[in-house]
Point group: C2
Chain length 138, copies 2
Amino acid sequence: MDAHEILMSCGLKVTRQRQAIVEYLMDAAMPVTAEEIYRALSQKEVSLWLSTIYRTLEQLSAKNVVRKTMLREEKNCYELVREGHRHYLICLGCNRMIALDSCPLHGMKLPAGNDRFQITGHRLELYGYCEKCQRDHH
Amino acid sequence: MDAHEILMSCGLKVTRQRQAIVEYLMDAAMPVTAEEIYRALSQKEVSLWLSTIYRTLEQLSAKNVVRKTMLREEKNCYELVREGHRHYLICLGCNRMIALDSCPLHGMKLPAGNDRFQITGHRLELYGYCEKCQRDHH
DNA sequence: TTGGGTGCAAAATGTTTGCAATTCG
DNA sequence: CGAATTGCAAACATTTTGCACCCAA
């Protein structure tokens, strides 16, 4: 599924700007901020505005094609929704994020989910220190 | 431990404003925004500015007395660090948050934590629908 | 007394909105 | 062509910063 198809399937018109945004998200290994998209695309041939990026991300989020996340307690980040959901290890030393290849909660019976509260999703981030920063940290 | 002692232990001067902020956090059952603190204290006898609140929360966060959280993908919230850490059920219907009384991950061996990445903390939020909203939602 | 703290204003940052001009279908 | 989309400016909300005055230690 390429950018063009993704946009079509959302019922959105395929514009130069939107294609570039979706392509950028497809290439991104990590959640990215609106500003990162803006800077990256501005450096290429693509000229577009931040408001367009926000609007597009908003629309794609509504269609569940993009997910808004908030990693590292800072800005909003956005990532393409791929297989299921995704969690990250976040290094407190260098801020790098490492995607986990599976959900640690998968298949787990959560004590909180009972008839009084129906759990439909979760968000999990693991913090710590990567190999390099473990050394530097001491 | 009261507000006064908490501030002292952080090496911060005990001022009227800071005391009020910490007391408010102690009474709060849930993470609160800077603005909520501002409005609540303004209504009482306490006069103080938002910048003072942000500065104080910043300092308390640095001392690990307060934790910054971002629930519901919206604004920054702050909560007093009590016993260990805390997780919430968040209702997507009414936005209400319900504190869990224990950490579902407690005692769990996380597959990601090995010698290459040392896990020191995590953040987990569970989303779903509370009893009332399960009915309304359909 | 004095260095940290606060009031206050102003700036910086991130995001949203309104509208005319443009472009996709 | 007509509706959706964009460029652009301006508004908005949140958070940070600078500085003179103030007050806790």
